[in-house]
C-alpha cells in the first residue's frame, strides 16, 4: 500500500457533506486562563450516513458535538477557531435568533440521560408538540396529533394514552424513546446522538438503534453517533473518528478501522474491550496512564505524553491519508506502519 501524503485538508474531500466541521477549537475558562478542550478537529457527515465519534471520557467528543449549534455553557466555554458549515452556510456567523431556528428543526440532539432531558411537570405529548409549535405553522391540535403519531413510530404502545402521561410514569427505555421522538418529530436533517443507548438494556438498545436506522433510511437524515461502545459503532456507523485528548488521531471507514487500526491509541482502545471470543479470565490489555488534564496537554503527540515517552517533537503530528478516506495522525511512534 502506498502512503499518500496529501496535504489538502481532509474536509475538502467530502463534497456532498451536509455538515462539515473544519479545524474546530473549543476553549474553556480555568483559573489558568483559557484552556483548549478541542484542538483542531475536522469531520464531516453526508446525508443518510452515520459518523461515529469514539474515545475515552474527557477526549472532547461531547464538546465537539455541542459546539455544532453552539450549546456550549456560557460564558465558560467558547469556540476559539474553525468553521461549522451546515448545508453550505457557516453556523458560527449566525445570531442566536437564527440559530434558534436551526436547533430542533434542522439539527437535533439526543442526550444520554433521558430524565434530565425531559421536563417532569409537563405531559410528554405537550413536550413533543412544543418542538412543532416552535418550528412549524401547525396548530396545537395538529401538533398533538403529530406527536402521538411520532410516539407510535418510536415503538411506544398505546401512544394516545402515553401522550397524556408524565415522564416519571414511564420506564427508562420508554423515556429514551420519548426523547428520540422529540428529536425526530420535526424531521431534522442532522441528528446528533450523544450516548443514546448507554443507559439502556441491550434488548432496548437494539430496538432504538434499529429505529434510528429505519428513520434514517426513510428521511435521508445524517447521524453523528457518540458512544464508547465499539459494538454499537460497528453496527451503526459508516465512518468513525477516533478522538484522543481533544484531537482526531484516526479517521476512516468503519471496516478499515476495525480491521486495520493504525494508530496505537485506536489499537489499545479496541484491545481493552472484553469480547465474547476472549478466553474467560484472561488478562485484558490495558492502556497505561490516564488522559492528561486539559491544562497539561502538550503541543506534540498526546498519546506519547500519556505513555510517558521522552524526546518528543513539540510539533503537532500531521494527518496523513493511508488509503482512500483512512487518515491517521502521523506520530513516528504511534502511527504503526503496516505493509505500506
Amino acid at each position: 500500500m502506498k502512503l499518500l501524503e496529501r496535504k489538502v485538508p481532509m474536509s475538502d474531500l467530502n463534497k456532498d457533506a451536509i455538515l462539515e466541521v473544519r479545524d474546530l477549537a473549543v476553549e474553556f475558562e480555568s483559573p489558568q486562563g483559557w484552556v483548549r478542550a478541542v484542538d483542531g478537529v475536522s469531520l464531516s457527515v453526508a446525508p443518510g450516513k452515520t459518523l461515529g465519534i469514539v474515545g475515552e471520557s474527557g477526549c472532547g467528543k461531547s464538546v465537539t458535538a455541542m459546539s455544532v449549534v453552539d450549546l456550549l455553557p456560557k460564558p465558560m466555554g467558547r469556540v476559539a477557531q474553525g468553521e461549522v458549515v451546515f448545508k453550505g452556510r457557516d453556523l458560527r456567523g449566525l445570531s442566536n435568533k437564527e440559530l434558534y431556528k436551526v436547533r430542533g428543526a434542522e439539527v437535533s440532539y439526543i442526550f444520554q440521560e433521558p430524565m434530565t432531558a425531559l421536563n417532569p411537570v409537563h405531559k410528554i405529548g405537550k413536550q413533543i408538540s412544543e418542538v412543532l409549535l416552535l418550528h412549524t405553522k401547525m396548530t396545537k391540535a395538529e401538533a398533538w396529533d403529530a406527536s402521538v403519531e411520532m410516539l407510535g413510530s418510536v415503538g411506544i404502545p398505546a401512544p394516545e394514552q402515553r401522550a397524556n402521561e408524565y415522564p416519571h410514569q414511564l420506564s427508562g427505555g420508554m423515556r429514551q424513546r420519548v426523547v428520540i421522538a422529540m428529536a425526530l418529530v420535526a424531521q431534522p436533517d442532522l441528528l446528533i446522538a450523544d450516548e443514546p443507548t448507554t443507559a439502556l438494556d441491550v434488548t432496548v438498545q437494539a430496538e432504538i438503534l434499529d429505529l434510528i436506522k429505519s428513520l434514517q433510511a426513510e428521511h435521508g437524515m445524517a447521524v453523528i453517533m457518540i458512544t464508547h461502545d465499539l459494538g454499537v459503532i460497528a453496527e451503526t456507523c459508516d465512518e468513525v473518528v477516533v478522538m484522543y485528548a481533544g484531537r482526531v488521531v484516526e479517521r476512516g471507514a468503519v471496516r478499515d478501522l476495525f480491521k486495520e487500526p493504525r494508530h496505537a491509541y485506536t489499537k489499545a482502545l479496541l484491545a481493552s474491550i472484553p469480547s465474547l471470543d476472549h478466553p474467560g479470565k484472561s488478562v485484558l490489555p490495558t492502556i497505561p496512564g490516564t488522559v492528561a488534564a486539559i491544562d497539561d496537554f502538550v503541543s506534540g503527540c498526546r498519546f506519547c505524553q500519556r505513555l510517558g515517552r521522552e524526546n518528543q517533537s513539540p510539533e503537532r503530528p500531521p494527518m496523513v491519508e493511508l488509503s482512500a478516506g483512512h487518515w491517521v495522525e502521523d506520530c513516528p511512534q504511534c502511527h504503526e506502519k503496516g505493509s505500506e
Binding site: 475515552e56 427505555g173 430496538e207 464508547h228 459503532i233 453496527e235 479496541l270 474491550i273 472484553p274 490495558t286
Partner: protein
C-alpha cells in the same frame, strides 16, 4: 463440590402502597422464587434486563433486605432469619460492592477512613494493626501509597472503584456481591478493574456474584452465568456453554442483541416486542411466553416452571414457551 452459598426458593416482595390512606394495593415480586448456589472461589455472573430483580437479589443475599421467604445458607449456616447483632460477625465473610463509586463512598471520609471503617466496626486488631492493614490493602489494589490521605472526589473513577474493592476485601471475605462494578467506567479503566478482580480472586480464593448487564464483561469474568427474567432465574450454565449453546428463548434473544464488532456476526437479531412486564402484576404463567405471545402460553398457567438439569451442569426453566420442541420433551422427562 462444596457450596459456599446456597439460595433456596428466595422471595423478596415489597408492598405497594397508595391512595389517601396508604393502604397496601399490591406486591412487587422483585425476586420470586430463586434458587442457585456458588462454589468457593468461583464467579457466578447474573444477567438480565433492568427491573428484573438482579440488584434486589444481590442485596437480599447479603441481608441488606430481609427476604420475604426462602433460605440463604452461607458456608453451612442459615442466615435468612438472623438478627443484625448475630449477623454482624458473619458479615466478615460476605461483602457487597456497588456500581457508582462516587455515590457509594462517603465523600467526607479520606481513602484511609473508607477502607478502615469495616475494620473498626468489626474491631479487628489494634489501631496500629488496622493502619498497617489499610496500607497493605491500598497496595494490593494498585493505588499509590500517597492516596490514603486523599478524598474520593480527588480520585478518578477507576481509582475510586479500586477503593471500593479495597474496602470490600478488607475483612478477608469469601464472597463478594458485585453490583455492576464496572459499568460506570470507561472501557480502558474497565479492563484495569476487571484484571484486578480476577487477580484478587486467584490470590484470595474469593467467590463473586457478578451482577451486570454487559454480557461480554460477564462472559469474561464468570465461571457460570445465571440469566434472570422478571424475578426468576430462567437458565444457569457454565459461561462457555450458555454463550455457545443457549437453551432458553430469552437467553437467545439477549445474546443476539449484543452489538458485534465483527461484521460477519451482525444481523441475526431476535426481535423482542414490548416491554418487560411489570413485577407488580406478573403474568400468571410463563412471563417470557406472555411477552412473546407464545401460542402455548395458556398451558403454562399454574405450571411449575422450575429449573431442570437438561445437560450436565446446564439448568433451564422447564417452560414449553421458551424451549425448543426437542428440549421441552427432554425437560418433561426430567421433571
Amino acid at each position: 463440590m462444596s457450596k459456599l452459598l446456597e439460595v433456596e426458593n428466595l422471595k423478596m416482595h415489597f408492598p405497594v402502597k397508595g391512595g389517601v390512606l396508604m393502604r397496601q394495593r399490591g406486591l412487587v415480586k422483585a425476586v420470586d422464587g430463586v434458587s442457585f448456589f456458588i462454589r468457593p472461589g468461583e464467579t457466578l455472573g447474573l444477567v438480565g434486563e433492568s427491573g428484573c430483580g438482579k440488584s434486589t437479589l444481590g442485596k437480599a443475599i447479603v441481608r441488606l433486605y430481609d427476604p420475604s421467604a426462602g433460605k440463604v445458607v452461607f458456608d453451612g449456616q442459615d442466615i435468612t432469619k438472623l438478627g443484625q447483632g448475630s449477623l454482624r460477625p458473619l458479615r466478615q465473610g460476605f461483602q457487597m460492592m456497588f456500581q457508582d463509586p462516587a455515590e457509594s463512598l462517603n465523600s467526607r471520609f479520606s481513602v484511609a477512613q473508607v477502607i478502615r471503617e469495616p475494620l473498626d466496626i468489626q474491631k479487628l486488631g489494634s489501631v496500629a494493626d488496622r493502619d498497617a492493614k489499610v496500607r497493605e490493602l491500598v497496595e494490593a489494589v494498585g493505588l499509590p501509597a500517597s492516596s490514603v490521605d486523599k478524598y474520593p472526589s480527588e480520585l478518578s473513577g477507576g481509582q475510586r472503584q479500586r477503593v471500593g474493592v479495597a474496602r470490600a476485601i478488607a475483612l478477608n471475605p469469601r464472597l463478594i456481591v458485585l453490583d455492576e462494578p464496572v459499568s460506570a467506567l470507561d472501557v480502558s479503566v474497565q479492563s484495569q478493574v476487571l484484571n484486578l478482580l480476577v487477580e484478587l480472586q486467584e490470590k484470595l480464593d474469593l467467590a463473586y456474584l457478578f451482577i451486570a448487564h454487559d454480557l461480554a464483561v460477564v462472559k469474561h469474568i464468570s465461571d457460570r452465568v445465571a440469566v434472570m427474567y422478571l424475578g426468576k432465574i430462567v437458565e444457569v450454565a457454565s459461561s462457555e456453554e450458555i454463550y455457545k449453546n443457549p437453551k432458553h428463548a430469552y437467553t437467545k434473544a439477549l445474546l443476539s442483541a449484543i452489538p458485534q464488532t465483527d461484521p460477519e456476526r451482525q444481523g441475526q437479531r431476535i426481535k423482542l416486542e414490548g416491554e418487560v412486564p411489570s413485577p407488580i402484576d406478573p403474568p400468571a404463567g410463563s412471563a417470557f411466553g406472555h411477552r412473546i405471545k407464545h401460542p402455548r402460553y395458556e398451558e403454562t398457567i399454574g405450571m411449575d416452571l422450575a429449573l431442570v438439569e437438561i445437560a450436565p451442569d446446564h439448568w433451564v426453566a422447564a417452560d414449553p414457551c421458551c424451549l425448543s420442541e426437542e428440549d421441552w420433551e427432554k425437560a418433561q422427562e426430567l421433571m
